[in-house]
């Protein structure tokens, strides 16, 4: 661990969601006691970490009490009974501030819950807080939050990654047993890698986006952060499934992911064909990270898989395609923040018309990176440039999908690094936007293809900080990915 600057994480701080739920369901511990333990850690270390935009006290206490009553009355408290969970602050919670870490949503309290919030509550989870993020999920370090950055619990001088940095830090610091993030170009997997956690970007459509404040609608997916592959599987089973409120939600029955993990732990991955993606495992990736990918490959090989290299050539175009498609969709998704119906309103001095009010509100309410992407996306969609930029990017998306499909004819699962480096220092990559964007090079392709991906911890780098490796599979192959991830985790 990153030595002196790390948050002191006490005994039991990495206890699993599975063990908490088992204990609470069996009546061995109360949900309220579990909550109290996590609250103590929050009280001790949150000031240093700044994982949360909002810590929920009364609501969490009520939820925990309800779980305990349910257990006492002999009814089923749900698979996540008493498990403290943190939510990225871009998921709507009824009556509770939901900010996207932006000034523009100042004062807004959604009149409804996101579908994932309802599902967590129905499963007995206790929501402990809303976590910090890069404003509107645009960033890879959580430095773009209007409320200040989140610090990496493994080294407080370093970023937790982003954009779901608060959700990653909350779990890494023991403030919650698991958390939810959203992943548009790697925003779950990269911070999971930098904070030593398991992070999952499910198949597009597997988890409802209803109530997730959109960044780029055709790329966004909600997924879990957890200490273990099994915990991530448990949380994903709860939040996945068809939602009639989301037209892009798929009908897939969530297969038993927990049992896939147990299968991986017990039986390994005999006969599976693993491909290391050549284009994502060379230039631009630091040597200590590549070394951990080799370690992961060896663990899979030792557990019965065959491992080879595979070329997925158009993935090299993913970064550019992503930075045209995502800002284009964002420029439209973020239009509604106009000062008319909710949130911030700024009326410029000496002007009384609605157009100036909107422009002043948006100028004051959005941070620099959000404005940059709105500008970029607006330009990419504008008359005369659509075909060259947005149109071309959509065609590259097709090429990437085709390349992956070709790879999956010969391989069951693909292996890559998650992030090119371990956690970096604050300010290290803020001067030039491209420097930050390149962080997402390995994670972006699966957002473009819609396929699932997992980042799983695989030891530490030369600096002693966590390194994650990424497993990719075809649509709805989550069970397979969890099985492989369990094998890699077992070697830790």
């Amino acid at each position: 661990m990153g030595a002196s600057h790390a948050v002191h994480v006490g005994p039991g701080s990495s206890e699993t969601a599975v063990s908490i739920a088992d204990d609470v369901r069996a009546g061995r511990r109360s949900a309220q006691a579990v909550l109290a333990l996590h609250r103590t850690r929050i009280d001790t270390a949150e000031a240093e970490v700044h994982a949360f935009n909002l810590v929920l006290t009364d609501q969490a206490a009520e939820a925990a009490a309800r779980v305990d009553e349910t257990v006492a009355s002999g009814r089923d408290p749900g698979p996540l009974a008493g498990v403290p969970i943190a939510l990225k602050d871009n998921m709507c919670t009824r009556g509770l501030a939901t900010t996207c870490s932006s000034r523009i949503l100042e004062g807004w309290r959604p009149p409804y819950d996101a579908t994932v919030v309802s599902r967590l509550a129905a499963a007995g989870a206790v929501i402990v807080g809303k976590t910090n993020l890069d404003e509107f999920a645009m960033g890879s370090s959580t430095e773009n939050s209007a409320f200040g950055p989140t610090r990496n619990p493994h080294d407080l001088e370093r970023v937790p990654g982003g954009s779901s940095g608060g959700s990653a830090a909350a779990v890494a610091a023991g403030f919650a047993a698991a958390s939810l993030g959203s992943d548009t170009g790697g925003s779950i997997r990269q911070p999971a890698s930098l904070c030593g956690l398991v992070g999952v970007k499910p198949t597009y459509g597997a988890v409802s986006r209803y109530g997730l404040i959109a960044f780029a609608s055709s790329l966004d997916q909600i997924g879990p952060f957890a200490h273990t592959v099994e915990d991530a599987a448990l949380v994903l089973e709860v939040i996945a499934g068809h939602d009639p409120m989301d037209s892009t939600s798929i009908e897939s029955p969530a297969p038993s992911l927990v049992s896939a993990v147990q299968q991986g732990h017990a039986d390994g991955v005999h006969g599976l064909r693993i491909g290391i993606v050549t284009e994502l495992s060379g230039e631009g990736i630091s040597a200590d990270v590549l070394a951990r990918v080799e370690v992961a490959a060896n663990r899979l090989r030792d557990a019965g898989a065959t491992v080879d290299h595979v070329s997925v050539p158009s993935t090299v175009l993913g970064l550019s395609a992503y930075y045209l498609i995502a800002p284009a969709e964002a420029s439209s998704n973020l239009a509604r923040f106009d000062g008319v119906r909710f949130g911030l309103r700024m009326v410029p001095e000496g002007s009384a018309n609605v157009q100036d009010m909107m422009a002043a509100t948006r100028a004051a309410g959005f941070g620099a990176e959000v404005k940059r992407r709105i500008m970029l996306g607006t330009y990419a969609l504008s008359a005369g440039y659509y075909d060259a930029y947005y149109g071309q990017a959509q065609k590259v998306r097709t090429l990437i999908i085709n390349d992956f499909q070709r790879a999956y004819q010969s391989f069951d699962v693909l292996l890559t690094p998650t992030s090119p480096t371990t956690a970096f220092a604050f300010g290290a990559k803020t001067a030039d936007p491209m420097t930050m964007y390149i962080n997402d090079v390995c994670t972006i392709p699966s957002n473009l293809s819609g396929d699932p991906a997992i980042s799983v911890p695989c030891g530490v780098g030369d600096d002693g900080l966590p390194v994650g490796v990424q497993l990719l599979g075809p649509a709805l192959s989550e069970a397979l990915l969890f099985r492989c991830a369990a094998v890699i985790e077992k070697g830790n």
Binding site: P111, L317, L319, S320, V340, F342, Q355, Q392, Q394
Partner: protein, 103 residues
């Protein structure tokens, strides 16, 4: 700015885009974004200049079609809760400064 503009991106383009995007940017921001956009679009030349003859665009990763909802009324929100979020309201409506025509 001195940065070679991607596909002729000019400061005037950035001013126009800011207007389309309803962002009241400062002169310094216009300069900054002219440079940033040129840099990012320069990087995106690999995509912009690619030969994609015969490739269909993908708008969406899902192959779904015809997702529907039944035409059944569901409860609407409580009006007071809705208007409580509004920066300004009057007579149960959202109040805005004067509109200068559509644009």
């Amino acid at each position: 700015m001195s940065e070679p503009a991607a596909r002729g991106l000019t400061r005037d383009d950035v001013v126009h885009v800011a207007k389309l995007a309803r962002l009241a940017l400062t002169d310094a921001e216009i300069d900054r974004y002219t440079a940033d956009l040129a840099g990012i679009l320069g990087h995106a030349e690999d995509v912009a200049s690619l030969d994609t003859e015969g490739v269909e665009p993908t708008a969406h990763p899902l192959p779904l079609v015809n997702v529907f909802r039944a035409d059944v009324v569901r409860p609407s929100l409580d009006r007071e809760e809705v208007l409580a979020c509004a920066p300004s309201s009057d007579q149960h409506q959202f109040r805005v400064p004067s509109i200068l025509g559509i644009a």
